[in-house]
């Protein structure tokens, strides 16, 4: 049984005050050389515009600044620190070779306005990545512009709208399963469509009968995540595509879970018309704070004319360049060519792995999720027994009998040194515990995680109040989320202001 750790004193790295509070008058972190030009009085030059009161600026030394930010950085939890099993987010390791390549001077210092003739390498990266992603997804064309997943979704649905408009009728509705990412309905609404909910069946998949009943000439598209957020592969995806296509509707695939398919099957082959990829998930570019993201959109030929402009083309002289002359294009969705730094990293990842390596990562991701599923079966309730792909969704059904919810278990997991799993999502599972280990984790770290989760399940049985108060080993213990929302304190005030001076 774990005993609550009592600290004799708070370690300095766990008790960092604001830089403002460290300030002492006259201290500074720089030393300028003596003035070698005549001094100018700003008030004379600017008159009343010269600012007299600079407000509260922290006055600190260089080493104080460095220590301040270095200490703060140690409060962070990252995938470089430990396992990050945040389901649906695919927090896989970002290989260092990606960074090495992205930091090559010629790439890191390239300017988007430099002439095409001296940008051939960068253009080639865009072209190679485009071709390889098309190959992986089985689609016909791609744009690398969107800045992240939700942006890719919007671009994809705008492509659907542009295509349907070109046929004379943009249609009215987008169908979305109840297990979808929350961004899907937001995307459909942003693109001007009404959202219609599609219920999952008992296996956690799209119910074909309801789909047939709901698809008509008003439906522009179905937005489907495959594997879905339960980690379940939609086995009748080809039938789903047929039902839609028969009524002239399109199939959009949210590619957030593509890391379960790469090298094994291709959306383009099972009837998907348009999809986005999350380079920051599937293709190992930094994710969550370390971004930016990147959400390329791949599509079938029918949608190609509408892709954002410009696109990379090979010119008659054999060099690469941008084609801006695309009359049916949506226009730009992002300045320049998207988050180019991420394109470099994703290409580095794909090429370092090669086809067999990518297939292996997919297999390992699925194997890890199933290993954890097996390890935790019994200790936690498994609401959907359908085979799991790259992630597994348990529920807090057993633990909630003792008053312990998924959020409490997640907070206790922090004490064991893990980043929490995804809490309360997908919405179709009450009290969801969503775990995605990714292929990055070894058997040993999966075992450690399983053990931690099992220990917590035991703690819930024996000392539920202990779990309810977690985390215990962190700098700050459990926050009062309700109070924070009801009576938020939004800014720090200096002592003088706080006492009402």
């Amino acid at each position: 049984m774990n005993k609550k750790i009592r600290k004799v004193t708070t370690h300095i790295s766990q008790n960092e005050v604001l830089l403002f509070e460290r300030s002492s008058a006259g201290k500074k972190a720089y030393e300028l050389p003596p003035l070698d030009v005549p001094e100018v009085d700003p008030a004379k030059l600017l008159g009343a515009q010269a600012r007299q009161d600079l407000g509260h600026m922290p006055e600190v030394s260089e080493v104080e600044i460095i220590r301040h930010f270095t200490r703060l950085s140690t409060w962070n939890y990252a995938v470089d620190h430990g396992m990050y099993p945040l389901g649906s987010c695919t927090m896989k390791y970002n290989p260092r070779v990606n960074e090495a390549v992205a930091r090559l001077t010629g790439l890191a210092e390239a300017h988007p306005y430099q002439p095409e003739r001296i940008s051939q390498g960068a253009l080639r990266i865009l072209k190679m990545l485009s071709e390889q992603l098309i190959e992986i997804t089985g689609m016909d064309a791609i744009t690398l512009q969107p800045a992240a997943g939700a942006h890719g979704e919007l671009t994809g649905i705008l492509l659907v709208r542009a295509y349907l408009e070109s046929l004379g009728n943009p249609r009215k509705k987008v169908l979305i399963p109840d297990s979808a990412h929350g961004t899907n309905p937001a995307t459909a609404a942003m693109a001007g469509y009404a959202v219609e909910n599609l219920k999952s069946n008992a296996a956690g998949m799209v119910d074909i009968a309801s789909l047939v009943a709901q698809v008509n000439e008003d439906v522009a598209a179905l937005m489907l995540t495959n594997p879905n957020t339960l980690g379940v592969f939609e086995q009748e995806i080809h039938k789903i595509a047929e039902v839609l296509h028969a009524k002239g509707a399109l199939l959009y695939m949210d590619g957030a879970n593509m890391n379960a398919l790469v090298g094994k099957t291709r959306p383009g082959d099972f009837g998907v018309d348009v999809m986005h990829l999350n380079l920051h998930k599937t293709f190992s570019t930094p994710h969550g704070g370390g971004g930016p993201g990147s959400g390329p959109v791949a599509c079938k030929k029918i949608l190609e004319p509408f892709l954002p402009s410009p696109v990379v083309v090979t010119k008659p002289d054999g060099t690469l360049g941008f084609d801006y002359n695309r009359p049916q294009s949506l226009g730009r969705v992002r300045m320049f060519y998207g988050n180019f730094g991420m394109h470099i990293r994703a290409l580095a990842y794909i090429m370092a792995n090669g086809p067999d390596g990518l297939r292996q990562t997919t297999e390992d991701a699925v194997l890890n999720a199933n290993y954890i599923r097996k390890g935790l079966e019994g200790a936690y309730d498994l609401p959907y027994k359908t085979p799991t792909m790259h992630e597994v969704v348990f529920s807090d059904h057993i633990q909630s009998q003792k008053g312990i919810k998924t959020g409490d278990i997640a907070k206790r997991l922090i004490d064991y040194g893990f980043h929490p799993y995804t809490v309360s999502f997908p919405l179709v599972v009450h009290g969801a515990i969503m775990i995605e280990p990714t292929e990055s984790e070894s058997k040993e770290s999966c075992d450690m995680f399983i053990e931690a989760m099992k220990d917590i399940a035991e703690e819930v049985e024996e000392h539920p109040e202990f779990v309810l108060e977690a985390p215990h080993n962190t700098r700050i213990s459990r926050l009062d989320e309700t109070m924070a929302a009801r009576k938020p304190i939004l800014r720090w005030k200096p002592q003088s202001e706080a006492v009402g001076k």
């Binding site: 609401p383 309360s424 599972v429 009450h430 989320e481 309700t482 929302a485 009801r486």
Partner: protein, 129 residues
């Protein structure tokens, strides 16, 4: 928690109490229970026209923001301003913490809603998983 027998209920978990042609609207105890600690309630202004089944406001908890749907059509005549400063009232007494009073267009619309007994059954079936 007992569901008052003189209220009618929606499948979206609002309650409606009809007195003459005045309707009083709130959310059910089951709704507050599943939302968790409520931190903010956004209500329409007096005079707003409500349509049955359409959004009348939102209720925000630590977990989520949810729409409140109008159980019946009509015009808002009174808003429970006290919820602005103490949204926790909804957690404490969902069936007492009313949100808006409405001059109903057609009080008989209420007959289409669930009775307390039917709502209780509905909630029990919904929470099956």
């Amino acid at each position: 928690m007992a569901y008052p027998a003189d209220y009618r209920y929606t499948k979206e978990h609002e309650w409606l109490k009809v007195e003459g042609n005045t309707g009083t609207v709130g959310i059910t105890d089951h709704a507050q229970e599943s939302l968790g600690d409520i931190v903010f309630v956004e209500l329409p202004k007096v005079g707003t026209e409500l349509t049955a089944g359409k959004t009348l406001g939102t209720v925000e908890s630590v977990k989520a923001v949810s729409d409140i749907f109008a159980p019946a059509s009509g015009t808002v005549t009174e808003v429970n301003e006290a919820l602005n400063t103490s949204p926790e009232q909804v957690n404490k007494d969902a069936h007492g913490a009313w949100m808006v009073k409405v001059k109903l267009k057609d009080p008989s619309e209420a007959n289409r809603l669930l009775s307390a007994a039917d709502y209780e059954k509905y909630v029990a079936a919904e929470g099956g998983h």
